[in-house]
Symmetry: C2
Subunit: 404 residues, 2 copies
C-alpha cells in the first residue's frame, strides 16, 4: 500500500531507512525496491558512503557473475541508546548504529512513580554506558515506557501505573541532558517495532506491507499495531488501548472507572484473584498449598499449577484466554491483520491461554479475515523490547532527518 506522504522524504532518508530495516542491502536490491534509476541509486549511495552513514561490506560470495558488495549502516559512525522502562525494572542498552549491542545496564525500579528518581536512574545508566564504551557520538535514543504516550509531546498522559508522570516532559528532559534526539513511545508499540525489525532484518525479499498486532498481557493489557508496514499510533497517539474494551458488561469494576474491561477480567490481577478464589474454595489443592505457603498468589504460581496439570488453574487461564480471544476476534474483523502475537509476562502462563485465544478468534471472525491469519506467541520475546527501543530511536531519527 502506498501512502501519499505529507512531505516526500529526502532520497537519502529513504535509502537510510531501507538499509536500517533490512540490515544489509545491495545497490541492485535498492533499485528494485525504490524503482529508482541506477544513476539515482548510485548517487544517493555515494553520498551516504561519503558522509559515513553507510559502509560497504566485503563482497558476498560469488555466484558466478560479478560479486555484489553489500551496504550496511556504518556501525562506527555513532551509537544508539535504548531505554526500556518496566513496572519494576529498567534496562538500558548501548548499541552501535548497526544494532550490535555494546553494553547493557539492568536495574530494579523500586518506586516507579518517583519521577525524579527514575529519571535520574535512566540518566545515570545512560551516562555510565557512554563513559565506559568508546563508540563515537550518541546519535539517537529510543525510550519505551509502561503507559500511554503522547508521541508528539514526548510525555506520558494519565498513566495508570505511574500517575505522577502525567505530562512530565520526559523526552525534553532526556534530550537536554543527553544532547541527542530522544523518542518516547509506550512499551507495546516498542514490542511491535521490535517484531517488525526482526521480520525485516535479513529477509529474502522486501515486504513493506506488514499488518499485525502485538498484544501485551500483564498487569495492563495493550496492543501495538503495525499497519501496512508502519506503526499505527492513531490520531492522538492513543491507539492500541485494548485493555479497556468492555468484554463483560456485568463484570468486575476496573480501575479506569468502568466495569468489565478486558484488563479487569484478564489482567494479571484478575487472574490472581480468580486463582485465590479457586484456592480458598478448595477447587485447587495446588493453589491452596501455594497460598498457604506465601500468603498471596502471583502469576507464576498459576503457571506452575497449570503446568502440573491443575484443572482449576487451567480453567482460570482458559477464561482469561476466552476474554482476550473475544476482543481479538472483534479486532480481527475490524482490522484484518495477518498475524496476532501474544507477549508480556502473562502470555506464557499456560498452554490453554494461547489455545483458547485461537479458538475464540477462529470461531468468531469471518473466514476472509482468518484464512491467512496466524496467532502465536511473540517470537524472540526476550529481546523484542531492546530491539524495539533501538528501532524506535533509529526509525524516528532517520524520518525526522536527525542524522546529519
Amino acid at each position: 500500500m502506498r501512502l501519499l506522504s505529507k512531505r516526500v522524504r529526502q532520497d537519502r532518508e529513504e535509502v537510510l531507512e531501507l538499509v536500517f530495516w533490512l540490515g544489509r542491502a545491495s545497490r541492485v536490491q535498492l533499485m528494485q525496491i525504490t524503482g529508482w534509476s541506477k544513476t539515482k541509486v548510485l548517487s544517493v549511495v555515494a553520498e551516504l558512503l561519503e558522509t559515513r552513514w553507510l559502509t560497504e561490506s566485503e563482497p558476498l560470495a560469488s555466484t558466478g557473475g560479478r560479486r555484489a558488495s553489500s551496504l550496511t549502516l556504518n556501525g562506527r559512525r555513532g551509537c544508539v541508546l535504548g531505554v526500556a522502562l518496566g513496572a519494576t525494572s529498567l534496562v538500558v542498552t548501548l548499541s552501535d548504529l548497526n544494532r550490535a549491542a555494546l553494553d547493557q545496564r539492568t536495574q530494579r525500579i523500586e518506586r516507579l512513580d518517583d519521577v525524579e528518581g527514575v529519571t535520574q536512574a535512566i540518566l545515570g545508566a545512560c551516562r555510565d554506558l557512554l563513559r565506559r564504551v568508546e563508540c563515537g557520538a550518541l546519535v539517537t535514543v529510543g525510550v519505551g515506557v509502561p503507559g500511554p504516550v503522547d508521541a508528539r509531546a514526548g510525555a506520558l498522559i494519565s498513566p495508570p501505573l505511574m500517575p505522577s508522570w502525567d505530562g512530565f516532559p520526559l523526552r525534553d528532559t532526556l534530550q537536554r541532558a543527553l544532547g541527542a534526539p530522544v523518542y518516547v513511545d509506550n512499551d507495546v508499540n516498542v514490542l511491535a517495532l521490535g517484531e517488525l525489525e526482526r521480520q525485516r532484518r535479513g529477509a529474502a525479499a522486501w515486504h513493506g506491507d506488514e499488518t499485525f498486532i502485538v498484544v501485551k498481557l500483564g498487569t495492563g493489557i495493550g496492543a501495538g499495531i503495525i499497519s501496512h508496514g508502519d506503526l499505527h499510533r492513531g490520531a492522538d497517539g492513543a491507539a492500541g488501548d485494548i485493555g479497556h474494551i468492555i468484554v463483560a458488561p456485568h463484570g468486575p469494576p476496573c480501575h479506569c472507572g468502568n466495569t468489565g474491561c478486558l484488563e479487569a477480567v484478564a489482567g494479571a490481577a484478575a487472574l490472581v484473584r480468580a486463582a485465590e478464589q479457586a484456592a480458598r474454595t478448595g477447587l485447587s489443592p495446588l493453589l491452596a498449598e501455594a497460598l498457604r505457603d506465601r500468603g498471596a498468589l502471583q502469576a507464576p504460581d498459576i503457571a506452575a499449577a497449570a503446568h502440573a496439570g491443575d484443572a482449576a488453574a487451567n480453567t482460570v487461564i482458559r477464561q482469561a484466554g476466552t476474554h482476550v480471544g473475544q476482543v481479538l476476534a472483534g479486532l480481527t474483523n475490524f482490522f484484518n491483520p495477518r498475524a496476532l502475537y501474544l507477549g508480556g509476562g502473562v502470555s506464557d502462563i499456560g498452554l490453554s491461554l494461547l489455545s483458547s485465544v485461537r479458538q475464540n478468534v477462529y470461531a468468531h471472525s469471518l473466514p476472509l479475515s482468518t484464512r491467512q491469519l496466524t496467532i502465536d506467541h511473540l517470537p524472540d520475546k526476550r529481546s523484542a523490547g531492546q530491539r524495539g527501543t533501538w528501532a524506535l530511536g533509529m526509525m524516528q531519527a532517520i524520518r525526522e532527518e536527525q542524522l546529519t
Copy 2:
C-alpha cells in the same frame, strides 16, 4: 506519518494524486507539500501539462504580487465511470477527469443475485452513457458493491446478500468489456473514500494524515477505515467487517452462524423485528397501526413513529444505538480515530440513534482517545457514494500508473 513505500512512486504520479485530491493546486503549494525543489516541481508539472493530464486555469485574482495560476486535472483528457451497486439499485455516473458529473443512469435491481443479469445491466448503463456523451477515452472505472471484496482479485468473496457472486471475476469481466482499468471495492470503503475526497477538495491546507471511520448502518453493518490518509483494507482486504463483532453473547442468532453479532441486534432486520414486537405487545399504538395497515414494518415506519414522539420506537432505536456505540467504543480505544461518521439507510432513523452512539463511545473510551473525537452523521451522505466510486477509480489508476 510517513510510510516507507514498497516502491517509491514516480514523481508524476505523486503530483497527479496531489492535484486529484486537492482539486486545484498551485506550483507553490506543490513545492510546500512535496518538499521538492522548485526546479523539480516545475519540470514534473511541465511534463504533465505537455501530456495533457494537467491543465492550467485562469490566474487567480491578484493579491498584489504576481498572480498565481492554478493546476487542475484536465477534465477533457478523458472520462471516468463510477458504478455504485446497491441491494436494490444501480447508479452509474459518467464524470470528466476533474469530477464534473456529465450524466447518470439509475435503475432498480430486481434480482441482485443474478450475476449475468446484473453484469449486463452494469455494462448496458456504462455503454449507454459512453455513447451519449462526447468525453474522450474512458480512463478508469470505480465500482462499489454491497459485500466483502478481495481487492487483489477484483471479486466478491462469500457475499451474504449475493452468494452466487462468490469469486465471480467482476473486475476482469468489466475490464474486458469496457477496455479500461476497473477497480472494485465494497460500498463502505467507497463511502470512506468519498468522505476523504470531500474533506480534501479545496481544503485550505494539505492534511494527508486523516484517520477516521465511516460506519454504514443498513441491512448489513460495515466500516470503511481511513488510516493516516489512506484506505486501510487489511491483510486480505477484509478490514471493516464490524457487523459480525459479537456484542450480545447471548443474543439472537445471526445469518453468519454466530449469535449476538452487531448486525443481528442493530441491523435493519433487527430493528424491524423489535418494532413489530412493540406493535404486537401494544407498547406502541403508532407502530401497531402501521403494522395493521401494511402487514409488515420497514425502517421508515420506525423513523416516522420516532419522529412523531413514539416512546417504543425511540427505545428500539436507542437500543440499536447502544449496541453500535459499544462496538465503536472498543474500536475507538483500539484505533484512536479523529472522527466517526454514521452513514447508510438506518443512520438517520431517529435522533436517539446518534445520541446513544455518542453516549456509549464517550462513556466507554479513554480520555486520550476521545479528547478530539467527533461523532456525527456522514456529511453530504447523498453524494458520498458517487464521489467515492470516482475517487476509487482515479486513485487506483494513478497509483497503478494506468494514466499513460
